[in-house]
Symmetry: none
Subunit: 149 residues, 2 copies
DNA sequence: AGCAGAAAGGTCAGAGATAGTCAAACAAAA
DNA sequence: TTTTGTTTGACTATCTCTGACCTTTCTGCT
């Protein structure tokens, strides 16, 4: 088990204690585990990505921090199911179908579903090369849904 | 937490007590928090910008002051103002400030604001080349906001 | 009125403190 | 052996704090 796993475990525990939201300093953590600071970035991107159910925000400069939020996971298996069913790409009609479904089954409010659909519409993504839109759409939808689970 | 956050917190509280309008002296504040006066300017420009929902006016000379006003406008106006204020690019911290502000002033529900913020987070857009993210983020946010006016 | 000095606030660039990126070296797994 | 995952460190980006210098306004004196 490498150092990345140890760090990830430490953060998981701290998140449990802290009720799902944790703010820490990259330098501190690096020192505590005797590794280079960028190792923390690696851990964040491989263990606390949106797919894993976390949101990571940060700030540089004096008093900087990394904030990790674990999204609630107990509410809807439906959501998880939907999320898992979304592959690496998602075209607009499929997105529309999925979101309409979720709204109809009241897993999402109509407002949220509409907002999200608009966010991934061809219009909103028009500056993204055609061939990359579906991948991006999948990312965005998954991330938002994960956030709402 | 740095001194800027402390000062900002103090001002927020004072604004609450004072019903949204506050007049204070730069030198006084600096002395109270034991910092250089220009630190106050820094706090103004980073924490009380129009983007955050404040108007800051000031006057020099004897009896000079800094006046901070928390703005409250009707939903339509606020939305239009916000949409117009978004240029061709929008970084994540700005998006967060804008959406937090819209949620606080109840122009958007917390759910929608959160969903949109997640949709334009660095995580969700990670497959988009760094240099194109801010432009895309601006597009998405504007498109969704227009949809909600 | 005109002017000088005092009493504010403003600007900007540099130093310090954090965090992020990326690619190369290394290690583990298939 | 090929592929995938991990670790490192040099370089970069961003946020905060400070101080020297600048501009505006007020007040009192002539």
């Amino acid at each position: 088990m490498g150092i990345s796993d140890v760090i990830a475990g430490f953060i998981q525990e701290a998140l449990d204690d802290a009720d799902g939201v944790l703010e820490l300093q990259r330098g501190d953590l690096a020192q505590r585990f005797n590794c280079v600071p960028s190792q923390i970035n690696y851990v964040m991107s491989t263990r606390f990505s949106p797919e894993h159910g976390y949101i990571v925000e940060s700030r540089r400069g004096g008093g900087g921090y990394i904030r990790i939020t674990r999204v609630q996971v107990d509410r809807q298996t439906l959501m998880m199911h939907v999320i898992n069913s979304i592959g690496d790409t998602l075209d607009y009609p499929s997105a529309r179908a999925i979101l309409t479904n979720l709204a109809q089954s009241e897993a999402l409010s109509v407002e949220v579903a509409t907002a999200l659909l608009t966010a991934v519409s061809e219009g909103a993504l028009r500056t993204v090369p055609q061939e990359k839109r579906d991948a991006l759409r999948a990312d965005i939808v998954k991330q938002v849904l994960i956030h709402f689970v």
